[in-house]
């Protein structure tokens, strides 16, 4: 890796001051489970690395009247073992436990999970985020078994965040802080499908730090996550679905269905959720909702199977949320 300056601030203002106007000036280090390996592979080479794990204010889970606040440097293991989250947000806990290897959960952070870069093997092998060559993406004609089935390009990578689909389904927000102020963004809008090589896949500016996540009160919502994975050992899911249901009298009053690892962003199946309203959750309605969720999918040459996996994930997540799994 290129030589870099390492900064270890202990306060947020100090940390923010150390950031720069471009990603090559400075990047934030939290768990370090991804940034360091990308630097070693020369995929990114920031001049400065700002460790934010020493900023105490960014750490911890607290229940507030507005919901649960999760500090960005809370580790994934702390998240999965937190009693508040375990009691109310099973979908998030399941998603966290899907990040396999206890080592990664011990080191990795919530903020890092949301800000990590895609695992697309063209990107990781130095072909750029969109894997463009001569004005065309390499992905549709290449090895695309793990790529997106939604979105239609030019970005074909899948959003790697395990937590994002669950957080979107729960209506969570993130706080993004810079030296000049802070803004709050729905997790649903935090992820963007870039149209060109110079756009990042998240709505975060180089001078900003994602400081916390706010999940609104669960208020009796029933939520669940289901993921299809090739192997139990450390691996990325092939497809996931997180759902959140408000049930009234055994019928769905409101629903969010969000699929993961199927598009450059978490993929909100709004139409399927709308269709579910007024239904009770049965094997048949869950199946239909799954089918509705993958309507319009545009699989590539090698990943038609992911349409099926996404469909099944939605079905199984719904049944789990309804306690029928």
């Amino acid at each position: 890796m290129e030589a870099f300056e390492y900064a270890n601030p202990t306060t947020l203002p100090e940390a923010l001051k150390l950031l720069g106007g471009s990603w090559s000036d400075a990047q934030v280090l939290a768990g370090g489970t991804d940034l360091i390996s990308m630097m070693k592979d020369y995929v990114v080479s920031p001049k400065r690395v700002v460790n934010i794990k020493s900023v105490a204010a960014l750490h911890g889970v607290t229940q507030t009247p507005k919901g649960v606040r999760i500090g960005a440097t809370t580790t994934l293991d702390e998240l999965a073992s937190n009693p508040i989250l375990r009691a109310q947000y099973g979908s998030l806990v399941t998603a966290t436990l899907g990040i396999t290897s206890p080592q990664l959960r011990n080191m990795g952070t919530v903020g890092g999970d949301l800000c990590q870069r895609p695992r697309c093997w063209y990107f990781r092998n130095g072909f750029g985020l969109l894997a463009m060559k001569d004005g065309k993406s390499l992905v549709p004609g290449g090895e695309n078994r793990y790529h997106a089935i939604f979105g239609g390009g030019p970005a074909y990578f899948v959003s790697p965040s395990s937590l994002a689909p669950a957080l979107v389904a729960l209506g969570a927000q993130v706080t993004l802080q810079s030296a000049s102020g802070s803004r709050t963004v729905d997790v649903a809008n935090f992820f963007v499908a870039p149209k060109d090589e110079n756009t990042r896949e998240i709505d975060l500016k180089p001078e900003e730090i994602l400081t916390e996540i706010l999940i609104p009160p669960a208020a009796g919502s029933q939520n669940a996550t289901y993921e299809v994975r090739h192997r139990e050992a450390i691996d990325w899911p092939l497809a996931t679905a997180s759902v959140s249901l408000k049930m009234v009298g055994g019928k769905v009053a409101a629903a969010r269905i969000v699929m993961g690892h199927v598009a450059p962003t978490p993929w909100d199946a709004a139409k399927a959720a709308e269709w579910l309203k007024g239904q009770s959750i049965t094997e048949a309605t869950a199946e239909q909702a799954g089918a509705a969720a993958v309507e319009g999918a545009q699989p590539l040459s090698q990943n038609e199977y992911k349409v099926q996996l996404a469909k099944v994930s939605v079905k199984r997540a719904l049944l789990a949320a309804a306690g029928k799994a």
């Binding site: 890796m1 290129e2 030589a3 020369y42 396999t100 695992r119 093997w121 063209y122 990781r124 092998n125 072909f127 060559k133 390499l138 004609g141 290449g142 090895e143 695309n144 078994r145 793990y146 299809v228 994975r229 090739h230 192997r231 139990e232 050992a233 450390i234 691996d235 092939l238 040459s301 090698q302 990943n303 038609e304 199977y305 349409v307 099926q308 996996l309 099944v312």
Partner: protein, 718 residues
């Protein structure tokens, strides 16, 4: 001459015992130092610059900026202007520097200009490989055409097994110091005694001036025999840097790209049988790659194990690709042959609506060892509860989870290699055996200690074992499952020769002749008479200032005459899987390995080795695959993220059943490192077919491929 024959099974005190490997705790705790762990004073780090292109001509190379970088001590060009590189990862140049970081940065400063040329990195579709193929074997026996016409049933299928890599945890490389006259060499090798000659030639010094040492090694699987280009180049870097030690180990990516791989095999196979399940004809067209040299296969070895089928027509084609070259991979070609054979046979059984176990039992006469395979099939069936759980293909119920069983077979040689051992008895009673073998992690050091302790009549702990050094008596390379036989015999002979000398020394004191003595339980005694004895220590004290040093030798070609070791292992693997038919995810419930293994020196380590082999088979059956990309020529998963290997949660229950019957013991020692890594892939693939009612046309059996085989999705192309 002493009687070298092994003590009878019931008389063995140390051999045959479940002793834990002597270096287990050191390894588990990180205390054991592998050569890649060595960081001697003044160490320099070498980094290899490799080709980013799958095929290109180097038109210019400029190393001046790298040479100027502070901390860089030497730069060498391996392939310069005018040379062609034939795969991504092909060696171009290397740099030595005072830190790994500096060496990496410096390697990036080497400016190489390439003229990119066309490449081919896929072989599955033979029609797209024109100009890159060559015929590589044809066999016809009997009258296959007639046999197919007359058959009651004919089954046709396609079976593919892709290139996989060795993925050694300790990468290839060495630490080496070379001052121009002498070299000290710490490689990661399967061949401590034998790899020095090529190094000597490579760096131009007599082999006597090379000292090679290796205490532990972290995985080779057949890929770590030769003196490597990198070893020689690292030596030259050391020389150019004033003889400072240089550490040159491949990084993970390079390890997966250029340190060897197992060739693929793709096939179209037609088999025929009669109503009662007798296999009558085999026809196969196979093609394979192992990189630029194509992929060979012994055509005459098909159908695997069931080779004595009356009618065969076999044709093999080698495909040359722009990918890193293949090397021996644990039982070269056998896992592939077992996979394509057992899957084709399983499909015929399914077509005949016949139970797979019955089909195999029906055809054991087509193997070289019918009685052994019959015993093993029945034994495996008992362990896996075949008769209760088995069903015909596709009759695995109607639920989402479908269960199925499958069978794979193996065969191997495993005759002990040539080996020399030196045994020493000191006057204080301490004993030592020394041989230039290596412990690949499977327990060679422990086994040698057991054989020596047995022969000395001493407790296991009292024997010191020296291995891993080229200054010790020459012992063969650890490949082909030849080590255990070789080192056991040389150790047995050396120790008994030494004990015999001791008998001669102490016989007068016991008022008897040397040939009337025996060494048991820490005593030298008149045979069968513990009352007429000296303790081992008292006996050794008679040596005075002297010590006994005796050699022992295994000569492979004498094995049959001596009867201590033999060759010819057979085994059967059976798998029990559950498949989620909505997702195509396969869960391995159980893998049973029944293995013929002759006389077993240490059942615990033998089982442990078979566990490892089963895990490798699970990886190959369900996960492991090198993904090369024709668009870019790159291997996209030269990492351990998308190059998938099984973890604990993926391996299910593995049951190892060693065939320890006396008639097996009588055969003598046989190496089993390889046979047990052969049949598992076929067993799992067949269990999946049995569960889902369809054949997945290649391994690894991924969700993608299961769903395509079941028709849940329309197509797959990966």
């Amino acid at each position: 001459m002493p009687d070298y024959s092994w003590p009878p099974m019931d008389k063995r005190r140390v051999m045959g015992k479940r002793i834990s490997r002597v270096d287990g705790i050191a390894k588990a705790s990180g205390k054991a130092k592998y050569n890649s762990d060595l960081n001697p004073n003044d160490l320099l780090y070498a980094v290899l610059l490799t080709s980013p292109h799958a095929h290109a001509k180097i038109t210019a190379i400029n190393t001046s900026e790298a040479e100027k970088m502070q901390g860089v001590t030497a730069v060498r060009v391996i392939n310069g202007a005018g040379k062609e590189v034939q795969w991504v990862g092909h060696e171009v140049a290397l740099v030595a520097a005072t830190s790994e970081t500096i060496a990496r940065d410096a390697a990036r400063l080497i400016k190489v200009e390439y003229q990119v040329m066309p490449h081919l990195v896929h072989e599955q579709d033979l029609s797209k490989a024109s100009g890159r193929t060559r015929p590589a074997g044809e066999v016809t026996t009997g009258d296959p055409e007639k046999a197919f016409q007359e058959a009651d049933a004919v089954s046709e299928g396609q079976y593919g097994i892709p290139v996989i890599t060795h993925c050694c945890l300790e990468p290839h490389g060495c630490v080496i110091s070379f001052d121009g006259r002498k070299a000290t060499f710490f490689p990661s090798t399967q061949n401590v005694s034998g790899m020095n000659a090529d190094l000597a030639k490579g760096i131009g010094i007599p082999v006597t001036d090379i000292h090679t040492h290796q205490d532990h090694m972290g995985g080779g699987f057949g890929s770590k025999f030769p003196t490597e280009l990198w070893h020689i180049e690292a030596a030259q870097l050391s020389k150019a840097s004033g003889g400072r030690p240089v550490k040159m180990f491949l990084d993970r990516r390079q390890e997966l790209l250029i340190a060897g791989n197992r060739p693929s095999v793709f096939s179209k196979i037609k088999v025929a049988g009669t109503k009662d399940g007798t296999l009558t004809a085999w026809q196969s067209q196979t093609w394979a790659t192992g990189g630029i040299g194509g992929g060979g296969l012994n055509a005459d070895q098909m159908p695997y194990v069931f080779r004595n089928v009356a009618n065969r027509k076999i044709n093999h084609t080698a495909v040359s690709l722009n990918t890193g070259g293949s090397r021996a991979w644990r039982a070269p070609n056998n896992p592939q042959l077992s996979y394509i054979t057992c899957c084709a046979l399983d499909d015929l059984a399914a077509k005949l609506k016949m139970d797979a176990l019955d089909f195999y039992l029906k055809n054991v006469n087509l193997t070289a060892r019918p009685e052994t395979y019959r015993y093993q099939l029945e034994r495996g069936a008992e362990i896996i509860n075949w008769r209760k759980l088995a069903h015909l293909r596709g009759e695995g119920g109607s639920g989402v989870m479908r269960r199925g069983l499958g069978i794979g077979v193996n065969m191997w040689g495993g005759l002990g290699h040539d080996s020399k051992c030196r045994a020493t008895i000191n006057s204080d009673g301490s004993v030592e055996v020394a041989l230039g073998t290596q412990d690949l992690g499977v327990g060679c050091r422990t086994a040698v200690q057991q054989v020596a302790a047995e022969s000395f009549g001493l407790p296991f702990e009292s024997v010191k074992v020296l291995i891993g050094d080229n200054q010790l008596p020459v012992s063969g390379a650890s490949g082909g499952s030849t080590t255990i036989g070789g080192v056991s015999v040389s150790t047995r002979k050396a120790t008994l020769n030494a004990v015999n000398k001791l008998f001669e020394k102490v016989a007068p004191a016991l008022g008897t002749e040397a040939d009337k003595l025996e060494a048991v339980d820490g005593r030298i005694q008149v045979k069968g008479n513990p009352a007429k004895a000296l303790t081992w220590k008292a006996a050794c004290s008679k040596l005075g200032p002297d010590k006994i040093e005796e050699m022992g030798e295994n000569v492979s070609r004498n094995a049959a005459r001596e009867g201590l070791i033999t060759q010819g292992a057979a085994g059967v693997q059976m798998a029990d899987v559950s498949v989620d038919i909505e997702t195509g995810v396969v869960k391995l419930n159980k893998l049973v390995a029944v293995q013929d293994c002759g006389l077993v020196v240490n059942p615990k380590m033998t089982e442990s080795q078979i566990y490892g082999a089963c895990i490798m088979s699970i990886c190959g059956a369900l996960m492991e695959e090198r993904v090369a990309d024709q668009m870019t020529g790159q291997v996209l998963n030269a990492d351990m993220e998308f190059y998938k290997l099984a973890g604990i949660g993926d391996i299910g229950d593995i049951v190892v059943d060693l065939d320890l019957r006396p008639e097996m013991d009588k055969r003598g020692i046989i190496g089993i490192g390889e046979p047990c890594a052969i049949g598992g892939v076929a067993a799992i693939a067949n269990a999946v077919a049995n569960a889902i009612g369809a054949r997945v046309d290649m391994v690894p059996v991924t969700p993608n491929r299961v769903l395509a085989a079941m028709g849940t999705i329309g197509k797959r192309s990966a």
